[in-house]
Chain length 320, copies 2
Amino acid sequence: MTDISAIRAAATRLRGHARVTPMLTSPFLDAIAGRPVLIKAECLQHTGAFKYRGARNAVAALDPPGVVAFSSGNHAQAVALACREWGVPSVVVMPADAPQLKVENTRALGATVVLYDRDTEDRDAIGARLAADRGYALIKPFDMAEVIAGQGTAGLELAEQAAALGVTRADVLVPCGGGGLTAGMGLALEAVAPGLRVRPVEPEGFDDVTQALATGRVVPNARLSGSICDAIVTPAPGALTWPVLQRLCGPGLAVSEDAVLRAMALAHDRLKLVLEPGGAVALAAALFCPDERRADDEPVIVMASGGNVDRAVMMRALGN
Amino acid sequence: MTDISAIRAAATRLRGHARVTPMLTSPFLDAIAGRPVLIKAECLQHTGAFKYRGARNAVAALDPPGVVAFSSGNHAQAVALACREWGVPSVVVMPADAPQLKVENTRALGATVVLYDRDTEDRDAIGARLAADRGYALIKPFDMAEVIAGQGTAGLELAEQAAALGVTRADVLVPCGGGGLTAGMGLALEAVAPGLRVRPVEPEGFDDVTQALATGRVVPNARLSGSICDAIVTPAPGALTWPVLQRLCGPGLAVSEDAVLRAMALAHDRLKLVLEPGGAVALAAALFCPDERRADDEPVIVMASGGNVDRAVMMRALGN
């Protein structure tokens, strides 16, 4: 099980490797939200997403002869870079409909990419077989203790940065796919900043965690593709992440595609940040979810990650 | 005269107000440049540009009853925010062809905006008259000791961040209009990191500083409008900045509009940063100037600021 000591160990392993990403604000976004919005700009992490934290921690903790991973794209790039830094080979299984930029980057960072069909093939099975065949370690995108611990280091940083801004009581909205980041941050905040509560944010139609938190029962998403939020389209939370999410999360939030595109455009205008759709869901929730728009002065904190968006999708957001 | 003690005093005034902006890198950009590229992401500063440093320092140092400023847009927003924070009114003279986003932001931050024609009217005269009429302080965009000192604080930060990455010998490419940032950073680096040498970067056709450095004689640019790099279209360096530039700068560089647009697209893809054309010239020089593309392993440092770009211009860069 991941706990705060595992997260602290991860922070030690990541020191000098992962970036300390800045906490940003904008008076224009505060005005839209009706309260102060603090944005943790984790899209500025290496490879453009928080995933580098978990991948680097897992590689450093396991010291494997090689790594197999499956990923919609951000974990793929993170594993490729972490393995290149560590000097070991990586094989990454990616969906055939992953954004071109993510596939190209993963290859350019030195990984061997194996494509699969998201609707008909089982990436877990493909990954497990490849790992067994080669004697490599399988580094899962979220349901793995070392990965959750690595993502949790973003929570340690966020707590410190929020405290420096005088914020010790707030909701922390987190883009949520399989729940690795949300669980890791929840565990970190529970230990170091109990006034900060994580809440998962998902795309409408892919809000399995939000539903599961509401009903207490995990029902996988009906669809596995068809969202612009490719990074966080995951059938269901994991065996390791779900119990943590259930224990630590406030209510989940689901956002529309239109809200996501508008949040991307505002991140461009107001924060000078490039966010991909899946990385913009938490900002979209802070700005546009009706029950989140309030003037009660309690700040809201937003995780903004990742930023690996094809140019055409960003142009769509900007032309919206 | 601005010196290192004035810059250190500015750093003290700015502490807790200006953001410490991160230093970023990308293996993809290193590959294009043929050597390591360190990017100081100053577009993440308040109001999206380094200008906040100089404006805030000047307002804090002068403690005026009100402020008049003239600006193509980034200094305008910076003065507006600094005055709002300080609790004094501001009047800002802006060219009628300034990007819409910059004019709107300046108004939204509380300034009274006065528009003028860049080709036929003299902004210095308009600003001086407004200041005299109202008894306000005139805070110039670059040719003012307190402003140069404020911009210099970016140099102090950059030197520290470069040293932490093991870089103590490098060229520092700086977007250059009137030379406030370049002069301020040059003075800071001379004192704390003499192995780091500033070099101004300008748009082709508006390279007055580059020409003046080469010939030793200042000849104002023939044109005052017609560049996408609106932020750094300035007729000539100032009376205060020029002697500093002449003493401390390495050779200047001029970049094409096409190189600027490509640099903006790469900042989007690889750094997850939004840069405006004028803020992307130094990155463009590092990536695309033939004599700057070399594999001699000496890193190059790039100032990336500002980021206040209209969506249509960013879409043009992304669709390029």
